[in-house]
C-alpha cells in the first residue's frame, strides 16, 4: 500500500513537471535587443497682465471706476497701473466707458491720461517727481499707449477732465494686455 502511494506521487510529480515545461512562458526565439536613454527637463511660461488701482493699494484685479461731479474746474484723479504679470510690459490698451447717471454717453468729456515716469504723482501738490508723459485722451473707446512697466512695478497715472455741465457721471477703465504688449519671441541656444 505504502509502495503504491509513493509510485503514484512520483508519477504525479513527473506529469506536473511535464505540464510546467509547456506552460513556462519562454521568450520568443526572435526576441530583439533594445536600448534606450532617458532624460528630462521642465518648461514654464510667463503671464502678462495689468490693472488700475488707487495709489499704493493692491486690491484684487478689477476694472477701475472714476466718479466725476459737475464742476467748472478741472477734476483730477490719481491711480497706479500695476503690472501683475510675470514680465515687463511695453504697452497696454485702456478701454474706457464713460456714462452719465442716466446711462447717457452724449456730451461726456474726454479723460486725459498722464503718467509720471520714474516718479509718482503728488496728489497734494499735483506734481510729478519724474517725467510727465501724455498717454492720450478718450471719453469712450480705447487708448493704446506705449509704456514701460517692469515686472511687479507700478506706473503712477493722473486722470484729468475739464469742466462739465453733466451731473453725476463715471468712467470705467479696463486694462487689456495682449501679445503686442510684451517682448517679442526669442531664440536661445544653450
Amino acid at each position: 500500500m505504502k509502495r503504491r502511494l509513493t509510485t503514484n506521487s512520483f508519477v504525479a510529480f513527473t506529469l506536473a513537471i511535464a505540464v510546467a515545461l509547456f506552460a513556462i512562458p519562454a521568450q520568443p526565439a526572435g526576441a530583439a535587443i533594445k536600448a534606450n536613454s532617458a532624460k528630462s527637463y521642465s518648461a514654464a511660461t510667463l503671464s502678462w497682465g495689468a490693472y488700475f488701482a488707487d495709489p499704493g493699494t493692491t486690491p484684487s484685479p478689477a476694472p477701475y471706476v472714476a466718479n466725476w461731479i459737475t464742476s467748472n474746474s478741472t477734476q483730477l484723479d490719481y491711480l497706479d497701473l500695476i503690472n501683475s504679470g510675470g514680465m515687463a510690459l511695453i504697452g497696454a490698451t485702456f478701454a474706457i466707458a464713460t456714462i452719465t447717471q442716466g446711462g447717457n454717453q452724449e456730451g461726456v468729456p474726454k479723460i486725459t491720461f498722464e503718467s509720471c515716469v520714474g516718479g509718482t504723482w503728488n496728489q497734494t501738490a499735483n506734481t510729478c517727481s519724474g517725467t510727465i508723459t501724455n498717454l492720450g485722451n478718450q471719453a469712450n473707446g480705447s487708448l493704446s499707449p506705449t509704456l514701460s512697466v517692469a515686472k511687479g512695478a507700478r506706473l503712477s497715472v493722473r486722470l484729468s477732465v475739464t469742466k462739465t455741465s453733466r451731473t453725476s457721471w463715471s468712467s470705467t477703465i479696463s486694462v487689456k494686455t495682449d501679445r503686442t504688449d510684451f517682448r517679442a519671441g526669442t531664440t536661445t541656444n544653450s
Partner: protein, 218 residues
C-alpha cells in the same frame, strides 16, 4: 535483496528528477536568449552583441529647466546620442511623456485657441556651434519635424538617421517652441483657457532596436 531493489528505484527517481530539472532550466534559458545566442565549436568563437544608447549633454542639454517662456520663444538644447553597444541599431525613436499644464501639451479644440509646445529634432553632421545654433562643417538634417507634445506620447521615428552603426553618434538639436499665439488678459485676469503661468515636465526617451537579424554563410 528487497532493500537493494528499493535503493535502486530511489536512485532512479532522483536521477530522473535531476534530468527533468535540468531540462526546465535548459528550455527556459534557450527561449530567453534564442535571438541572441550563438554557439562556439572547434576553433571558432561567436559572441552576442549588445546595444547601449547613451545621451550626453552638449552645452546645457537636459541639465536645467527652461523658464520664462512666451509665445514665439524657441529654446534649442543640444545632446549627443551614441550607440555605445557592439551592434548596429535601427528604428531610432523619441518618445516624450509630458505632465503638467494641459494647454501646453495639447492644442486647443472646440473654441480654445491655445497652441501646445512643440518639439523638433535636427541632427548635424558637423558640429553644433552653441552660440549661434549653426551646424559648422556639416549639414543639418530634420529628424523629427515640429510636433505637439501630446503627439509625442507615441514614439516618433527619426527620419534622416533611423539607424546607427556601433559606436556611431548623432549630434542632436532639440528645438522646443512655444508657438506664436495671442491671449488677452483683462484687468490682470488671464483667460479661462490659457497657456500663461503654465509648467510642463518633459521626459525624453530615446529608443533603438537591434539591427535586423542576418543569416550568413561562410
Amino acid at each position: 535483496m528487497q532493500k537493494e531493489h528499493m535503493r535502486n528505484k530511489r536512485s532512479l527517481r532522483l536521477a530522473l528528477m535531476g534530468v527533468i530539472g535540468a531540462s526546465i532550466v535548459a528550455v527556459a534559458g534557450a527561449g530567453t536568449f534564442a535571438g541572441l545566442n550563438a554557439t562556439a565549436s572547434g576553433s571558432n568563437t561567436a559572441g552576442v552583441g549588445k546595444l547601449s544608447l547613451t545621451s550626453a549633454n552638449n552645452g546645457v542639454g537636459f541639465s536645467s529647466a527652461i523658464s520664462n517662456l512666451v509665445p514665439g520663444d524657441v529654446v534649442n538644447r543640444y545632446t549627443t546620442l551614441t550607440n555605445a553597444g557592439t551592434l548596429a541599431s535601427q528604428a531610432l525613436t523619441l518618445k516624450i511623456t509630458s505632465t503638467g499644464t494641459a494647454t501646453l501639451i495639447t492644442d486647443g479644440t472646440a473654441g480654445a485657441t491655445n497652441k501646445a509646445i512643440t518639439v523638433a529634432v535636427n541632427s548635424c553632421s558637423g558640429t553644433w556651434t552653441l552660440a549661434t545654433g549653426a551646424c559648422t562643417g556639416g549639414t543639418v538634417s530634420s529628424e523629427i519635424a515640429a510636433t505637439p507634445l501630446s503627439t509625442f506620447a507615441t514614439a516618433q521615428s527619426f527620419i534622416a538617421h533611423p539607424t546607427m552603426a556601433s559606436l556611431d553618434s548623432l549630434k542632436l538639436q532639440i528645438v522646443l517652441t512655444v508657438p506664436a499665439q495671442d491671449e488677452t488678459t483683462v484687468d490682470g485676469t488671464v483667460p479661462a483657457v490659457t497657456i500663461q503661468n503654465g509648467s510642463v515636465n518633459l521626459a525624453y526617451l530615446f529608443y533603438e532596436g537591434q539591427r535586423t537579424a542576418a543569416t550568413t554563410n561562410s
